[in-house]
Symmetry: C2
Subunit: 317 residues, 2 copies
């Protein structure tokens, strides 16, 4: 199977929403009048972002999901993506399920594959995703204000639990592991929630490197600080597994690979935030508030300051 057969067989679909799709030097996109195009790129490397043994269908899902999560964090509606793929060989038994997992998620979001590149090399998946957002309405990291509430969507820490089990650090019952593994391999990009938060959230980011690490990006961009309720955070882990509270707190606050939305909103808009979450079918939890004093302060259920440090994920640290 040659390079062009491979593209033809696994990755070429007719362009429906976009002017020109796979098969020319460029794809052509035309955002509707008054819309800006939101763009994000994420690269997934074997051994770094996924294990060699991962199910290729799940990998196809995840490679697109982590990119859609960036669109969600901007409040953008998915439109199209490009896929650049470096593969050790043109292996149909890998390509067919990879494409199936990828396109299942793409179709669920009406997000078209419009172009890309395939080459031989160590397994590497680079997706660039495009979404539309009304001009001036994108959710940014820089809009958090003192007094705002701080929220996070869904659950946190379960992906890290699955990773630690695969590293042999602990063992958990099979059903709990299956659910945790689904969180690690099949993250749900919060696309509907991101759009529902337009005009409502003052700042938003997706949690990919760990809640505290990603929160620091918001605090720095907004020039504010935050107080976090650790008790509310502990309840964010779904899997009912016996863990010491310190470990649980670390995995919730600095676990990584969660792909939830962390966002701020004015305190007098709590009802609207709840309504947006309901409309999007996504749970959100209020976990703290934004303060004028720089820095990040963590409090336990009794209101005492917690002094521990948490490291967020850094590929080069």
């Amino acid at each position: 199977m040659g390079e062009f057969d491979l593209i033809e067989r696994f990755f070429k679909r007719p362009a429906r929403r976009n002017a020109l799709g796979v098969g020319d030097d460029c794809a052509l996109l035309a955002p509707a009048a008054g819309m800006q195009l939101a763009v994000s790129s994420d690269m997934l490397v074997e051994g770094r972002h996924f294990l060699p043994a991962v199910d290729p269908a799940r990998l196809g899902h995840k490679a697109l999901a982590v990119n859609l999560s960036d669109l969600a964090a901007c409040g953008a509606q998915p439109l199209a993506f490009t896929l650049a793929l470096s593969l050790p060989q043109a292996d149909e038994a890998w390509l067919a399920p990879f494409a199936r997992g990828l396109f299942a998620l793409a179709e669920a979001h009406e997000c078209e594959l419009v172009g890309g590149d395939t080459t031989r090399g160590p397994l590497n998946i680079c997706i660039t995703v495009f979404g539309e957002v009304p001009a001036g309405q994108a959710l940014l990291r820089s809009g958090a204000r003192a007094g705002d509430d701080l929220y996070v969507s869904g659950s946190l820490g379960d992906a890290r639990l699955a990773l630690e089990v695969s590293r042999g650090a602990l063992s958990v019952p099979a059903d709990a592991l299956e659910r945790a593994r689904a969180r690690l391999d099949l993250p749900t990009p919060r696309v509907a929630l991101g759009q529902a938060l337009r005009g409502l959230a003052t700042a938003c980011i997706d949690v990919s490197d760990g809640l505290l690490g990603d929160l620091r990006h918001v605090l720095r961009a907004s020039a504010v600080g935050a107080a976090i309720d650790a008790g509310a955070c502990l309840a964010l882990m779904d899997c009912a597994v016996q863990l010491d509270p310190d470990t649980r707190l670390e995995w919730v606050l600095a676990g990584g690979d969660d792909y939830e939305l962390l966002f701020t909103a004015a305190a007098d808009r709590r009802q609207q935030v709840e309504a947006a979450a309901r409309a999007a079918g996504t749970r959100v939890t209020r976990i703290g508030r934004i303060e004028a004093a720089p820095g990040l302060r963590l409090f336990d259920a009794t209101g005492h300051r917690i002094a521990r440090q948490f490291a967020s994920f850094d590929h080069f640290a």
Copy 2:
């Protein structure tokens, strides 16, 4: 040096032309009214697209140049790009010249880095580039018609000469090698020519896998055939090195890594094509014509058909 320091030090520049650049979940692009966005992705892998010993400044240039060449082939004006980079380590001695070579070319084309990703892994450079083209005016592969002239820009085959020397297949004088190496490492994307050909070329593609291989994409997309003048092609190689004519013809027709534009135009528009080439400061050569009969026919200077087969580059063949 951590991941975010690396981005801050080497890759963060203020956004000037685009609404939002590096440092949020998404970049924001807004094509001007009446414009479409042309998008292309290319991935460069160590050992496949470049040798480990390559000068990082040249690699920075080439990684963007091959993407700009795709915009050129569509007649689009460069606007912005994203960079996803997988690196074995955060090595300043590599990153500084890589960024220098990359930004020198980016600035020459006023093409802004607006986002991307950095991760640890085998060296892999994935760029997605964005350009603007008036709606409906993009140059496509599908517009060639019987009777059209067939042209190619610049020179062909010299990059292959440099590659063969680096493989030890032949040796050539140092000054000739230096010029050939510049063609391999520092290709010139024909951006001005591509724009000058809007409304004039009936089809266009960039020559990256070899002239004949890329021409076949045009012929298939346009449902036509072509007759090629091999004598005109032989003159396309710049480096005045002693080579047997068969080898020279193969490197010109199927060398790869040329990044020239191959395009068609109606035979009654030769003067306009010459004027467009002059305005763009780029030489173009008429090398054949489009015919109704499918297939690709090659003729020597005496008008005799040449029966040889030429294979174009395929990563998985």
